[in-house]
């Protein structure tokens, strides 16, 4: 491919000299957080599970975005763009959940969904009651 001009990193942005903690150190932090997110829920405490499982996931995502993807060095509107997409999904879920998440509302009732919850509970109890039910 005869290339008139070598196309090493585009000149427009001087290649960002790496600053901040070394990549391997960041990797170490991420692994630590992974351990926290696995161990935390084992305590079976709901709020701890929420904090460790999902809170840590947010922190890990932030770290990967900042230190690996260098999103902070990038133009600001890139961050705004990605953040807008996430907010859009949040708004969609917020507007849809009164119909899908909840199984009844003003003058309507989703009997089939309520029934499937009861059926799920029953089959779980039945499975648990079986002698030598498989647990792992």
């Amino acid at each position: 491919m005869a290339e008139l001009t070598p196309s090493v990193a585009a000149p427009a942005t001087a290649a960002p000299a790496h600053h901040g903690p070394s990549y391997v150190k960041t990797w170490g932090i991420l692994l630590g957080l992974l351990v926290v997110s696995v161990v935390g829920p084992m305590l079976e405490i709901r709020v701890v599970t929420l904090l460790t499982a999902f809170g840590v996931a947010l922190v890990k995502a932030y770290i990967v975005a900042k230190y690996f993807m260098h999103i902070d060095v990038e133009k600001r509107y890139v961050t705004y763009l990605l953040f807008t997409m996430v907010v859009l999904m949040g708004l969609m879920v917020a507007a849809v959940s009164p119909d899908v998440l909840k199984h009844d509302g003003h003058r309507w009732e989703n009997r089939a969904a309520k029934r499937s919850v009861v059926r799920g509970e029953n089959s779980a109890k039945a499975a648990a009651a079986l002698p030598g039910a498989v647990h792992h």
Partner: protein, 571 residues
């Protein structure tokens, strides 16, 4: 490498020295944005013929139920649903989007921002190929056992999810695959458009020097990218429901059909603005050139277009007021729906304002652009009846809705496309279309168009509901005069379809025998008129142009001619 260096003096990079490519390389395997634009355009026209045939068949059944339709035979209930579904899907996904966004976007964007091609030519070619594949998959679905999918272009489960309900099992999955492929094609195309306009503008072309049609196509691509995602996920889930028997949308398995409706319309409403904005851009270009007037408030139009785009993400559930969503949510969406009528109305007011003090030249492109405004006004205005939740209880899923969205979709997909084709034809093919035949086609389309849909407003208000293949089963809908309105609408459709032949003949005849066109036959300002007609590979043989001013400097006080091209340096 210094991309920022002025490549003005550079006498066309290595492209021009290439040997004369063979037929395949030049027409079918080309990576030239103009050729890919033509591929989309002619595929879109071919699909429009399919869309036209389907509407001929089912409107004849509506007017003369149970009779033998010439060219089709008897329209059974199964056929009727398949024809209606095909008409809807083809016209939105395989005519409006390819012609307005992909064909014009591909052709115009590089030319109007003064560069030689899209940033990713091969990705551009691949996006057309996937689009072609989606068209083939859709057409194939007509011939499978059980026939084409018959559950309307919205494909609501459980009807679309279970073969024993829709009786078109294979057809449903092929339809869904075709739509998913089409989404993939337009995601790739969209990324290509947005990146090209962001990065490859001519030196000196600031944000507010970009022509309005380029802005509109970019905003449309962004709207599409941001809204199609959930429906791609929904399509995968529906395909699994259809083929694997999962229960995403099956109430018996804990799934929820309402989830599909939300995912569909979260995409569905931004989608109608995705096709509206390019048409608005086309109209802006044409009315400014042929009234020799600067666009009235460039920034107003741009900000209202962005405002419309943003608001279009918060209105979707007005399609579902009576569809079982929680009635308290309906009011929220009714408010946002009426709010979005404001920016769109403002855009129309600005276009009307542009005519003030102009020197309006009524040739064919201008007639199309002006009729877009006249017709779209009625489309927009009747949307208020449907956006107001109280009135929608009566109007939902009646022919009033059908007439409303045809008064918006027909101006967008057809009037907008005719305006663009007649305006840019000299640039695209280096020849001129016959203006008299153009006017014959114009009046032969506009008058019957109103003849079809005004009766449908009346029928809808009197209770005609949608997708009914034979109204004789409904005594209240066979009252005096109602069937006559249906016959009148169908006759007007036949007249309209007949006049499209005039357009096709004029198009293909002028392609070969039209009068030679100069580089700038309309004395317009935008950069594509700085290139020769038709522009060679690489667009600007004398070097890529710079941009010195906005696109709409017409009748500038301190300039002799009444136009001031963007690439001309001095006065």
């Amino acid at each position: 490498m210094s991309a920022a260096t002025e490549t003005h003096g550079h006498a066309g990079h290595g492209h021009d020295a290439h040997h004369d490519e063979g037929f395949i390389k030049k027409y079918l395997w080309s990576t030239d944005h103009k050729m890919i634009g033509f591929q989309y355009l002619f595929t879109g026209i071919l699909m429009a013929v399919i869309g036209g045939f389907t509407v001929y068949a089912f409107r004849m059944q509506q007017a003369f139920p149970g009779t033998h339709i010439p060219g089709f035979g008897r329209v059974t209930a199964t056929d009727y649903n398949a024809l209606v579904t095909t008409h809807g899907s083809v016209m939105v996904f395989w005519v409006a989007m390819p012609v307005l966004i992909a064909a014009l976007g591909n052709y115009l964007i590089p030319l109007m921002i003064g560069c030689d091609d899209m940033v990713f030519p091969r990705l551009n070619r691949l996006s057309y190929q996937i689009f072609l594949l989606s068209s083939v998959v859709l057409v194939a679905s007509f011939f499978v056992e059980g026939g084409a999918f018959g559950g309307a272009w919205t494909s609501y489960p459980p009807l679309s999810a279970k073969a024993e309900y829709s009786l078109t099992g294979t057809g449903s999955s092929l339809w869904l695959t075709a739509v998913a492929l089409e989404f993939a094609a337009f995601l790739m195309g969209g990324i290509n458009f947005v990146t090209t306009v962001m990065n490859s503008r001519a030196p000196g072309m600031r944000m507010f020097d970009v022509p309005m049609v380029v802005w509109m196509i970019v905003i449309a691509s962004i709207l599409f990218m941001a809204s199609v995602g959930p429906l791609v996920a929904g399509a995968i889930m529906l395909l699994f429901d259809q083929q694997l028997g999962t229960g995403f949308f099956d109430p018996a398995k804990g799934g929820d059909p309402i989830l599909w409706q939300h995912l569909f319309w979260f995409f569905g409403h931004p989608e109608v603005y995705v096709v509206l904005l390019p048409a608005m851009g086309i109209v802006a270009e044409i009315i400014t050139v042929f009234s020799r007037k600067k666009l009235f408030g460039y920034k107003t139009v741009l900000y209202t277009a962005i405002g419309t785009g943003v608001l279009s993400f918060f209105v979707w559930a007005h399609h579902q007021f009576v569809a079982g969503i929680d009635p308290r949510m309906a009011n929220v969406f009714s408010v946002t729906t009426l709010l979005i009528s404001i920016p769109v109305a403002e855009m129309i007011f600005v276009y009307i304002g542009t005519l003030y003090g102009g020197s309006v030249k009524l040739n064919t492109p201008m007639l199309w652009a002006l009729s877009f405004i006249a017709e779209f006004l009625l489309g927009g205005v009747t949307g208020i009846f449907l956006g107001a939740s109280g009135a929608d209880v009566y109007f939902h899923d009646t022919y009033f809705v059908v007439a409303h969205f045809h008064y918006t979709f027909f101006p967008i997909a057809f009037i907008g496309a005719f305006a663009a084709i007649t305006y840019w034809f000299p640039k695209m093919f280096g020849r001129e279309m016959n203006d008299t035949w153009g006017k014959v086609h114009f009046w032969g389309t506009i008058i019957p168009f109103n003849g079809i849909f005004i009766p449908l407003f009346l029928l809808g208000a009197r209770g005609d509901h949608r997708r009914i293949y034979d109204y004789r089963h409904f005594p209240d809908l066979m009252k005096a005069g109602m069937q006559d309105l249906r016959v009148f609408a169908t006759v007007c459709l036949l007249v309209l379809l007949a006049f499209q032949v005039v357009f096709l003949v004029n198009l293909f005849y002028s392609l070969v025998r039209g009068k030679k066109a100069s580089a700038n036959p309309w004395n317009a300002n935008t950069l594509e008129w700085a290139a020769p007609s038709p522009p060679p590979h690489g667009n600007f043989p004398e070097g890529l142009p710079n941009c010195y001013r906005g696109p709409y400097e017409y009748s500038h006080p301190d300039r002799a001619e009444d136009f001031w091209p963007q690439h001309v340096k001095g006065a």
